[in-house]
Amino acid sequence: MNVTSFNLMSYADIDLGVKDKFRSAWVLLPNSYFDPVKGHALYNRYLDELELADELGFDGVAVNEHHQTAYGLMPSPVVTASALARRTKRCRIAILGNAFCLRENPLTLAEEHAMIDVITGGRLISGFVRGVGTEYFSLGANPVHSLERHKEAAELVVRAWTETGPFSFEGKHFHIEYVNLWPRPFQQPHPPIWCPSQGSLETIEWAAHPDRKFVYLQNYSPRESVGRYLDMYRDVALRKYGYEAASDRIGWGAPVYVGETDEKAIEEARPHIEMLFNVLLPKASELMFFPPGYMSPESLAHILKHKKANSGGVTIESLMARGIIVVGSPDTVRKQIMDNHRDMGFQELVTMLTFGAMPAEMSQRNIRLFAREVMPALQPLTDREYRGFEPALA
């Protein structure tokens, strides 16, 4: 199993009352609350933590994209990935992901990803995402076209990375006269492509298509949903496309905190995980999460039935009980992840070891403890420890 350390890079110096005052830490929170001096310290500290992960033997480090929010300070993960490109030496650098479809011309990102891949000698993982609902408010893109643009942008980018140019691309949303990327990516035929998601049949059917076989990463979800969606990938591959999906095509992402004992871990992590879920994550309205057309009416109806929009008030106990986060002593954390692997067989694990307003010293302790006490037991895991996929009865 590959273990990756993901850093969300939240603006941790946030006044806890702002969520109530401005209804959300997204889009509506005035940027006067961002102090560039504090931001300077935070960026450098977060980058240090990712570099530390490389030194400690993580297989990868990961960054992502969010706009106009204190939740995560990376409107351009290309910038953080570039900073890591020269400072890390062996680990993969995963951009999880970039919203190519939100750009007027997705080739600008394709060029930047190719540059990072060439500079690092092929250590880039390229995540293709649509962005969460709020990004459509921040960047103006019409959510009604989101799925279409996402698929078309991916087709354009993969062709740009793999086909000899110049050629022209005529899509519905993108019309590009000259496609001829300099540089081409280092990895052949192109960097691995991942699809981080919070659970979507549409994404799975698209990612699992035999022409793509993109890695599907289920994030921030209850254990039961993780199992269901990861099985769905294998099921779609088998029944819709007639092939057996390899376990390295699926991954699970979750916040993880390791303490000396279960009790200590819970008490230490509590304020930070609750800040993440109750202050940084909530949106001002359901529509901010799910703007019109962002997902099909069927998926939206399904989500609204099963998942109340998060408006705060969650506790660490409920997050742990649902398996959305993993918190405890090294033994507890190791066992829980190994149990999940035994049941689900994912070969990619993306851990979020810094969250909320964790002080630097606490993050480092978490990263080091996880790397020393938990990770060595995970990295050797293969399909031998996976109980195997049982297709659901038709």
Binding site: G140, N142, P143, L287, M288, P291, P292, G293, L300
Partner: protein, 257 residues
């Protein structure tokens, strides 16, 4: 008044509409919420007009055809529809998004239009006077804001809370966002062609409209100097619902000329 539900294929796309009453033709174009709540003023108007009430593309029972990407496509589709139904001398009453669609038709051709009454039409932007962001606030909040009267607003919010997760409401929001997301419910190039509207036009606005502020009525007046502008006291974004009798008399009077 009885309305009959019908459909018509326009350029291969199914357009659903209700038709009722007798007299000369009147086309009513609904706002961004579609016709989930039927405006009873249409029953009043059907006493003197042949009232035709389509679901705009993607709304209600009308198909969202692949050839409708923006308001321009909607305008051409409606013009084709009038042509296909062989209607001329048409009065158009358009509310909000529907008022915008009416204007987009009229700047292209007024040939089949006799007059227009536009109720709080979208379509333009007044710098410094944002519309309410109906794509960000939840539908119940939007319903509350749409009325000047707090009690009517609260009742509408309660209804929206029930209907907002229903399939039809979801589809209507998608149809609305397809046309109005970016820029928000306007076409930057519309105002420069508004001088082409050469048929009698009335602009009706609730004086306490919190969805599209009444200052927009004055802006329209600037672009269309011959248009008659009427503000309705103590009415929000739905003056034809909130002040039905008053607006009905106004429309009859204007449209009967």
């Amino acid at each position: 008044m009885t309305f009959v539900a019908q459909t018509l294929a326009v350029n291969g796309a199914k357009v659903a509409f209700n038709r009722g009453g007798a007299g000369e033709p009147l086309l009513f174009l609904h706002g961004a919420d579609g016709l989930t709540e039927w405006p009873e003023i249409l029953d009043d108007l059907a006493q003197t007009f042949d009232v035709i009430v389509p679901d705009l593309p993607g709304f209600g029972l009308s198909e969202a055809p692949a050839f409708v990407d923006d308001i321009s496509d909607v305008a051409y589709l409606l013009m084709d529809m009038l042509e296909q139904m062989n209607l001329s001398g048409v009065r158009i009453v358009g509310h909000s998004l529907g008022g915008w669609a009416a204007l987009e038709m009229a700047v292209r051709s007024c040939e089949r239009i006799r007059s227009m009454a536009l109720i709080a039409p979208a379509g333009i932007h007044v710098k410094g006077s944002p519309k309410a962001d109906i794509y960000m606030i939840d539908p119940d909040e939007q319903a509350r804001l749409a009325y000047a009267d707090a009690e009517l607003g609260a009742a509408a919010a309660a209804r929206a809370l029930v209907s907002k997760h229903q399939n039809q409401a979801i589809l209507n929001r998608i149809a609305s966002a397809r046309l109005g997301w970016n820029p928000r419910l306007y076409n930057p190039r519309l105002e420069r062609w508004l001088h082409r509207v050469n048929k009698p036009t009335m602009i009706v606005w609730g004086d306490t409209d919190r969805i599209i502020p009444p200052v927009y009525a004055d802006a329209f007046s600037g672009f269309m100097p011959s248009a008659k502008v009427v503000k309705i006291a103590s009415a929000g974004h739905l003056p034809h619902v909130e002040k039905r009798a008053e607006v009905c008399a106004l429309l009859r009077n204007f449209l009967q000329d």
